[in-house]
């Protein structure tokens, strides 16, 4: 008899669970799953976005075209440069900042809030702010001229290929470093204090404590942050889009998402843009799978 009662309770819970989850599932189905499946489907067709004609099936035509297209190769290279160029400083800086915040006795919440605030800005606003800073007469040139004691040197933040790539990386790191710092802060906070105390009793200094206690136990968080950061970087769009519309050359920052936008919206070639989206999706899927797989092997439990 008690068995039956517990079962019905579980059933009730499950029913309420479904009720709560259904709106999100419907939302995801309509706004995420359907577009993903539609993109897969469209990637096998030649379709002009404006045309009323039914799409023409071309099999893997769009994919074979992409693998021979110089523009696609250019955007893959640009995406790789941006992703690795952004992901490494993001990871290192956010870890350093988190360690710094956790080492403070006061104002921890204040530091987190200040660092996190750029993440709350829209990407468009962030890019607009940095466009003003990178303007030839803006703060970036003035600052570097002040630091180096020069006058009137233009560092070509928005025009030189390398500087332009660096500019987009700076914007992204500035915007997201606070977000990942907060995740690291949570990770560091989850490490029991007793472990640090034991290390201190054994004579470890702060650096040894961080390197031999904090850092190894942060592996799952580091893994999570690195995969999240990498996926975030692969999806970058607004900064590159706004910089190019403000006159910066397109070629050095023509990342995959920008190429997808131009191919679909400006060139009306939705089949080809869908094929690019599918490839980008697969790359992100691989990273997510890796993250899930690795996080299982790197799980840390505190007894």
């Amino acid at each position: 008899m008690p068995r039956t009662k517990r079962f019905s309770m579980e059933q009730k819970k499950a029913r309420w669970g479904w009720i709560f989850v259904t709106p999100s599932l419907v939302f995801f189905a309509v706004f995420s799953f359907y577009p993903i499946f539609n993109a897969f489907y469209l990637s096998f067709f030649r379709k002009n976005l404006l045309s009323l004609k039914p799409p023409a099936f071309i099999g893997f035509g769009n994919y074979t075209y992409l693998f021979t297209s110089s523009l696609f190769k250019e955007s893959v290279v640009n995406t790789a440069i941006f992703t690795f160029g952004t992901f490494v400083p993001l990871l290192v800086l956010s870890l350093i900042l988190a360690a710094f915040i956790m080492s403070r006795k006061r104002f921890q919440k204040f530091y987190q809030m200040v660092l996190y605030s750029p993440a709350a800005l829209s990407s468009v606003v962030a890019a607009m702010i940095w466009l003003l800073i990178f303007d030839p007469r803006g703060l970036a040139n003035q600052g570097l001229n002040l630091v180096f004691g020069t006058s009137g040197v233009n560092y070509h933040w928005l025009s030189n290929d390398t500087m332009l790539r660096l500019s987009t990386i700076i914007v992204y790191v500035w915007k997201y470093v606070g977000y990942f710092t907060v995740i690291f802060v949570a990770g560091i906070g989850a490490i029991p204090n007793t472990l640090h105390e034991a290390a201190l009793i054994d004579g470890a200094d702060r650096w040894q404590d961080f390197w031999h206690i904090t850092f190894p136990l942060l592996k799952p968080t580091t893994l999570l942050v690195s995969v999240m950061a990498m996926i975030q970087c692969l999806k970058t769009f607004s900064t590159q889009y706004l910089f190019t519309t403000a006159g910066a050359p397109r070629q050095p920052i023509n990342v995959l998402t920008l190429n997808i936008y131009y191919t679909a919206i400006k060139d009306h070639s939705i089949g080809r843009a869908s094929a690019m989206s599918v490839l980008l999706f697969l790359v992100m899927l691989v990273f997510t799978w890796l993250q899930l797989r690795l996080s299982r092997t790197e799980e840390v439990t505190y007894m």
Binding site: L49, L50, S51, N141, L158, G247, P249, R250, Q251
Partner: protein, 426 residues
């Protein structure tokens, strides 16, 4: 019970009759871009139109000009496009080619046929919107760009604006050199600078002046006359930071800062509409007579006298709208456009109707002779289904030589390869 049933039946009949009445109302959705002056007069015309046709309701939706193209495209691709809209002709061209817009309903707007409509407008007005003998749009504006000059800045550099204004591109570079003020490499004041994203409107005519073309007449070969292209690319390279450092796409858009008259920009390339914006942005400068407009320059050794291309915004009607909506949308378009003088005076845009172009009031506008003279020298902007793609590739080539210091030959080779790839695919 009987009384209740009667009441229910009555309520049902009333709601049905109301529904039937509501069904009679034709709602026309009109999407256009931001322009406060135009909004004022068009809202007035719409109110008048709704009075003339009580069963018509017009919903005028204003979108940011830079986003308008994407929004209209997205709506049309989902088969939810507005009944009436306007876009630059370079964008609208695809809508005509893909049969997404309906031909003009001549009877609805009071014309017997296409010829009668054409007879009321400047020659060539409808060339860009004609397919298979049918006209697909009514012109909201036809625009070309000339050079606006700030006379004070000219004089401050020891130049006489009336005599020393640039007639050739070579003079443009030399005069800009005299006008430019730099702090080291950083330009603090520019003499002139180009409107960089609009390469089909303003850069392609420079190539044409030297005898070049973007694609051959048969539409199969990319880049005609390498020498013309190389000379223009070399000129742009010289203009940029790796050359004489006279300007760059990364500085603020010249047209926007010229109005401020704050010693930032001596010359800019813009249309007649600039005067309307100047009157609002800086009335003191507008009234000061310290500005003038001169024709689009040409190269010293030009083989063709070609001015900046003119482009237009046309009002078009969605081919998927119902027949009665299409008819009313054309009537509304025609009603609004039957006030060309008000559009000119309030919005500073030119609806190229013959009756207005020949009027004294039109000719009395400042520098109208310069704009109309350049209209004669120029031609309609290059139109192609892949026009935007080509414009982007030209932009890449210009940016490569100006900003990345790539050689003109290499930039041209890449440009040719990319355009040819698109042409071959077709």
């Amino acid at each position: 019970m009987k009384r209740l049933s009667c009441l229910l039946v009555l309520a049902l009949v009333m709601s049905l009759s109301l529904g039937a009445h509501a069904a009679k109302v034709i709602e026309i959705t009109y999407w256009t871009h931001t322009d406060d002056n135009r909004t004022t007069i068009e809202n007035k015309y719409i109110a008048e139109f709704e009075k003339m046709y009580p069963d018509v309701k017009v919903k005028r939706v204003v979108n940011e000009a830079s986003k308008m193209g994407d929004l209209v495209l997205t709506a049309f691709s989902a088969n939810r496009g507005p009944d009436l809209f306007n876009l630059p002709i370079e964008q609208e061209y695809g809508y005509i080619m893909q049969n997404r817009v309906s031909p003009v309903d001549y009877a609805a707007i009071g014309y017997k046929n296409a010829d009668a409509l054409k007879a009321d407008y400047m020659k060539g007005t409808f060339e860009a919107v004609t397919k298979g003998g049918k006209i697909y749009g009514l012109p909201l504006e036809l625009t070309n760009w000339c050079i606006y000059i700030n006379k004070k800045i000219f004089r401050s550099a020891g130049l006489d604006p009336e005599k020393d204004y640039p007639r050739t591109w070579e003079q443009m570079a030399d005069i800009s050199e005299k006008l430019v003020i730099r702090n080291g490499d950083i330009i603090m004041r520019r003499g002139f600078d180009f409107r960089y994203p609009y390469y089909l409107v303003s850069l392609l005519p420079m190539v044409e002046q030297l005898g070049g073309q973007l694609i051959s007449d048969d539409g199969k070969k990319a880049i005609v006359n390498d020498q013309a292209w190389l000379k223009v690319l070399k000129f742009m390279k010289e203009w940029g930071p790796h050359g004489r450092n006279l300007g760059s796409p990364t500085y603020p858009a010249p047209r926007k800062i010229w109005n401020k008259d704050n010693n930032d920009m001596a010359m800019c390339l813009s249309g007649f509409y600039q005067q309307g914006r100047l009157r609002i942005d800086n009335p003191a400068f507008f009234d000061s007579k310290e500005w003038m407009v001169v024709p689009f320059p040409k190269f010293k050794d030009a083989v063709k006298d070609v001015a900046c291309s003119y482009y237009g915004h046309f009002l078009m009607v969605n081919a998927q709208s119902s027949k009665d909506k299409q008819e009313m949308a054309w009537k509304l378009a025609q009603y609004m456009l039957s006030h060309p003088m008000e559009y000119l005076e309030v919005v500073n845009i030119i609806i190229p109707r013959k009756d207005m172009l020949s009027s004294k009031e039109f000719k009395a506008n400042p520098y109208m002779d310069v704009f109309m003279g350049d209209m004669d020298r120029g031609h309609s902007v290059f139109l192609h289904e892949n026009g935007y793609q080509f414009e982007r590739f030209i932009g890449d080539a210009v940016q490569a030589v100006m900003l990345s210091n790539v050689s003109e030959q290499q930039a041209l080779a890449t440009l040719r390869q990319r355009i040819q790839e698109v042409l071959d695919e077709q």
